[in-house]
Every structure is written in C-alpha cells, then in structure tokens.
C-alpha cells in the first residue's frame, strides 16, 4: 500500500485507480478504522475506552465466525444452521486442555497446553467434526442438510451441558457451570507501550492475563488473527478449490459433469468452514477465560448467518461489514439505547417519562423491552432494501442482474433453480 509516487498528480491517479475497486476501499477503511479504534475509544470516553475495546475484540470473534460461515454458505452455497456447534467445539477443546477441569474427570489429570498450539488443535478438532457430520449427510438435498446442521447445533451444547458433574461417565465438561479459569495465552516476550497506558518496554515473559484492564492485547491478537484469516480465505476463494465451490453453488449437476467431485468439494467447504469456527472458539475461550454451553445456542448460529447474508454472501469484505454492523447493533446500540433514551428525555424536560407510573415502567425499561422489536425491524428493513446484502460480490451481482431472463426459461424446463 505504501507505493512510492513521484508527484501528487500520479498519486491521485494511483489513488483513484486503487479505490475504484470497492472491496479495496472497504478493506482500507476497515484496517485504518481498526488500528485507530482503541485511541478513538479512549479519547471519546475520556480514558475509559477499555470496555469498548474489549467489546470490539468480541466483535472481532464474530468477524472471524462470519468469514468462516461465508465459506460454507457464501462460497459453496450450503445452508448451515448449526455453525455455533463448531464454535463450541473449538472453545471446549481449548477450555478442557488448558484448565484444571480435567483433574476432576475420571482421567484425574489436568492439561495446560499453550494457546498457540491449541489454536491449531481446536481448528483441527472442529474440522474433524465438520467432516464427521458432513460425510454421511452432504448427499442430502438443499435444505435437508440445513436441518441436519440445525440438529447437530442443538445436540452439541446439550451434550456439553449434560457431561458435567453427576453424568454417568463423570465430569468431563463442567456441565451447566461450564469451564472456568482457562489459561490465558502467553508469549516469551511482548512489546507494551502507550496503548495500554505504559511506557514502551519489552515485557518478558508476557501473558494476556487481564482482559478487563488490558483488553488491548486481546484486541491486537484478534486483529492479527482476522487479517491472517482474510488472506487465507482470499487465497482459497481464488484457488482451484474456490472455483469448484462456486461451480457447485451455481449448478451442482453441471459441476459434477465437468469433473468436479462434488461430495469431496462440499465436505472440504464444511470442514474448512468449521475449522474457522474452532479457531474463533479457541480465542473466545481464552479471552473470556470461561466457556459455558449457553454461549453456543441456536441463536448464535442464526446471528452469524444473519451477519453473512446481511453483509453480502460470498463477498469477504461485505461479510466483515455485516458482522461488524450486527455486532455494533447487538453489543452497543441495543445495550445503550435505554440509557440514551432516558437521558435525552431528562435533558429535554420530559423527566416524568423516566418515572414509572401504573403500567408504564419508566422510559429506560420500556425501551429495553423494545430491543427484540428493534433488532427484528432492522433485519427486515435492511433485507427488503438490499436483498443481496449490503455489499454483495460484484460478480454475483452482475450474474443476478443479467441472469433473470435466462432463469425464467430455465424455470419452465427444470423447475425453479434454487
């Protein structure tokens, strides 16, 4: 990006050329925004930005999840309604192998593997489960696959909840209490500086021990993971495998006729998508330092799917924007709206609205009660205004615009395609 240019004129020309590509523009804005975000948060809140940075790191997890689900739904066109199951598997894999929990299991032996190795182990375990689930079921037609994934997504958290203390085979998962005191990631040395409110210095050994006081470390970590994932998925998309996914998505029969092994290709999409979820789960467990089955319910799968579809299926920057938008709405707008509403009411002299009287429970709580409604309205309105998502993939957009006439003819012969 830091290309040397001799004059301001050629710099202009280079910039117009560079930003003509919408995706590049989005990436640039996102990267700059992500790097500046902690400072902005700190300044706007008067030095109390830690909570915002921590929330942003959580949003980063959802970005990672959305990028992963996009492989399954956006690239390969398979509907996955149980994606949170793989997220749970990743988080529990790290939680079990990096905490004291297993000392209470029939193994009587606790493990403390380092985070960096476990990132890849969690990826592998989630991918393996993706393959195990996918192998017998990927031959299913369209939405039946979605139901199988939905079922799997319902089963996994319940099994984690069941295998706690008192289960017939002993306490393997902490049950309803989940796993607490999971090890933070550690590094042999690390550079800290003004961004955590300290002078620049080398700390060794370093551990990410305090996510409340120093969320910055976790924020940087997720930023790096997300950037690496974007590179990886971008390369995947442009590879032979990526083209095969798109071929299967557009027309499975034609893809098979052209020599694409559709079952293997779909299995890979499923597995690789799951591996990102496992990856994200491992980070999530380390950041929260606790995992519980209630973090991985059906609603989480649906939320990730909303992020992918709303952002623009199949387009990585679009999906990232979708994940950030929904995270922003969920973690910031809906949580702060009641406070804003009541403070606005008292500033403009409508303070009586804040007091409860009869059925009226006060503006703050009334607005809080509207959360579901507001979220639902946002989803419906955005989808009605932009059925392709906020930033759909360019190629796909053109296909959809040009393809309408051809599809109508195709419909009559073959029944509706997709």
């Amino acid at each position: 990006m830091s290309r040397q240019v001799s004059s301001s004129d050629s710099a202009m020309r280079w910039a117009t050329g560079f930003f003509r590509d919408r995706n590049r523009t989005i990436y640039t804005i996102l990267l700059v925004g992500a790097l500046l975000f902690p400072s902005i948060a700190d300044i706007t809140t008067g030095g109390e930005g830690n909570h915002l940075v921590s929330t942003a790191a959580d949003a980063g997890v959802f970005v990672l999840l959305a990028i992963g689900l996009n492989i399954v739904v956006g690239f390969a066109g398979l509907l996955d309604l149980g994606y949170a199951a793989f997220f749970a598997i990743g988080a529990y894999t790290y939680g079990l192998l990096a905490s004291g929990l297993l000392s209470g299991s029939p193994l009587h032996q606790e493990f403390h593997f380092p985070f960096w190795i476990m990132l890849f182990v969690a990826m592998g375990v989630a991918a393996a489960f993706g393959a195990i689930l996918g192998a017998p079921t990927l031959r299913l037609r369209g939405d039946y696959l979605a139901i199988v994934t939905l079922g799997f997504g319902e089963i996994v958290p319940r099994i984690f909840r069941f295998l706690g203390a008192g289960s017939p085979i002993g306490n393997w998962t902490g049950g309803v209490n989940g796993i607490a005191a999971i090890d933070p990631p550690t590094l042999p040395f690390f550079l800290t500086g003004p961004w955590v409110g300290a002078p620049i210095q080398v700390v060794k050994p370093f551990d990410f021990s305090d996510p409340i006081a120093y969320p910055m470390d976790f924020y940087l970590l997720i930023l790096i993971l997300v950037v690496l994932s974007i590179f990886a998925v971008n390369n995947l998309q442009n590879s032979r495998l990526g083209r095969a996914w798109m071929a299967v998505r557009e027309d499975e029969v034609a893809a098979a006729a052209s020599g694409v092994n559709t079952v293997a290709i779909k299995l890979l999409a499923f597995s690789i998508g799951a591996s990102f979820s496992g990856f994200a789960g491992c980070y999530y467990g380390a950041k929260l330092s606790t995992v519980g089955s209630e973090n991985f319910e059906f609603i989480v799968s649906v939320t990730i799917l909303i992020m992918v579809v709303l952002g623009g299926m199949g387009n990585i920057p679009g999906v990232i924007v979708g994940a950030l938008t929904i995270s922003f709405v969920n973690f910031y707008v809906l949580t702060n709206l009641p406070d804003y509403a009541s403070s606005i009411a008292s500033t403009i002299g409508l303070d009586f609205l804040n007091k409860s009287s009869g059925d009226w429970i006060g503006l703050h709580d009334e607005v809080q009660r509207l959360n579901y409604l507001i979220f639902g309205l946002i989803l419906v309105v955005v989808m009605l205004l932009r059925p392709q998502g906020l930033f759909p993939s360019r190629i796909r957009e053109q296909e959809l615009e040009k393809g309408t006439a051809e599809e109508a003819v195709f419909d009559l012969r073959e029944g509706s395609p997709e």
């Binding site: 199988v148 419906v380 509706s416």
Partner: protein, 317 residues
Amino acid sequence: MLVVLLAPKAASDLSLFVQILVIGIANGAIYALIALGYTMVYGIIELINFAHGDVFTLGAFLSLPLLGAFGLTEGKSSGVSVYLALILIAAIVMLLTGTINVVIERVAYRPLRNAPRLAPLITAVGMSFILEGIMYFWRGASPIHYPDLIPNPRIPLLAGATIGLKDIIVIVVAIVLVILLTVFINGSKLGKAMRATAQDREAAQLMGIDINRTIAATFFIGAVLAGAGGVIFGLYFNSVRFDLGFGVGLFAFTAAVFGGIGNIQGAALGGLAIGLVQAFSNAYYQSALTDVWIFAILILVLVFRPTGLLGMQVPER
C-alpha cells in the same frame, strides 16, 4: 429399536406406560398443529418460516384479553357456555393470526420472492424477533398464567391408567383439524391450486392460478392452525411466555421434516413421533438428554430416508 427399548418398561409397569403414552400423544397433537403450518409454507415456497412458532404464541397471547372480554374467569365459569365461548374465542383468534400471517407474507416475504434464497429466511428471523418483541413489550418477560377453564376429570383407561378430559379435547381437536385440512387440500379448488403451485409455480401460473392469492391462502391456513394450537396450548399447560414459540417452533419444524416436509400427514405423524419420544425419554431416561435424542433421531432418519418418513422421492433439481 424403539420397541426393544420400550417393551421391558411397558411390561414392568403397564399403567405408567399408558399414562406416558397419553401425555406423548397430547403433546404430539399440539406439535402436529404447528408443524402443519411449517410444512405447508415450506411445500409451497421452500421457506423455513421462522416466524411461524411466534404466530402460534401470538394465538395464545391474543386469546388472553378475549377470555376477559367474554367474562371467562378461572374457578367461576363452568358449564356448556364455557365451551361455546371458547370455540368462539378460538375462531376469532384463528382469524386474527391468519390475517396477521397474511400481512407478514405480504410485507416481508412476497417482495423477496425473486431475491436470493436466504433473503426471505433472514426476514423470517426478523419477523420472529418482531413478533416476540411485540409480545415482550405487551406482557413482559415473566411467564403468564393462562386461566384453567376446562375441568380435567380423569377417565379410567386400561391397567389403572387414566386419561384427562383435557387430553381428550386436545387430541380430538387436532385430529378434526388435520382431517378438515386434508379434505380441504385434496377436495377444494383452492387446495388443488395450492398443490399445483407447490409442484411447479410457473406452470401453475400459466394454467391461470393466481399465485399470490394461493400463497397468501397457504399462510392464512397455516396460521389458523397455529392460532388454534396457541389457544389449546394455553388451556392445556396454563402458562405462556413471549418466547415460547422459539422452542416449540423448533420442535414443530423438526416434526415437519421428520415426517417429510411438504407432506400434511407426514407433519401430523412427525408431531406425534416427537411428542412420544419426548414423553418417554422424560419419563424413562434422562430428561436432560431428551432433546439430544430427538435431534439425533432426526439426523438418523434423514441419513437413511433423506426425505423424511412419508416424503416422496423428488429428483434432484
């Protein structure tokens, strides 16, 4: 396999076995009523209508003020007039939920009929949130007591087991509604239009069928059944909550897939199956694992019979 698991239990305590069977059938009847709406909508426009479960809850919620308006109060009202009032209330609720569902289809699904497939799925999730939000705003988050209006005398069955009057009413109402629906779908002109539209929308249109009207009618009938289900649920369990439709809807949808989605009898059978598995697993095995069994059976059924129990083999599109 199920027979092997259940036979010894049945032999050891027949009374308990029959009792659980009754509970399972009654619960299954309610699931079946909701599953029908999922299966009809999926059959005709291939949409998993996530808002359907909440239309069911809305049925229960809408009937609450009506009960008051008709002067029905727990413990005081009795006799034939209660049943007549309840039938009238159910009819009003069914009309209301039907109309609401038609509006939902018009606003949130019809504009997206030619959009990418997942777009209406997301608006369905959005509508589900909106309906839950309305009910939450209206009645709050805590469970609401639903008046216990029907006396529940136990009628002896075989081996000392009994069946309550409520169980009988639930089962009879569900059976009657399923039969009416089957007759309607197979016999009436609109039913024929629905089947034609489900089979091939464009061809149906070329034959002069008004597609929009037919799809709206499908949503209407599905929601009518869901509304009836809501009232019955309230009378049977005497407690409702704004997010009830989420969990019940998930099982009803599972039931629809289980029986073969798009198939009316399949949905009824699936609902019954889910109700039975749930009742037996709760009573004989760990209730914490009940849902695991249900979804595991669902996955197994789909692996070995990819179109559900009664689903027809449709060629790959």
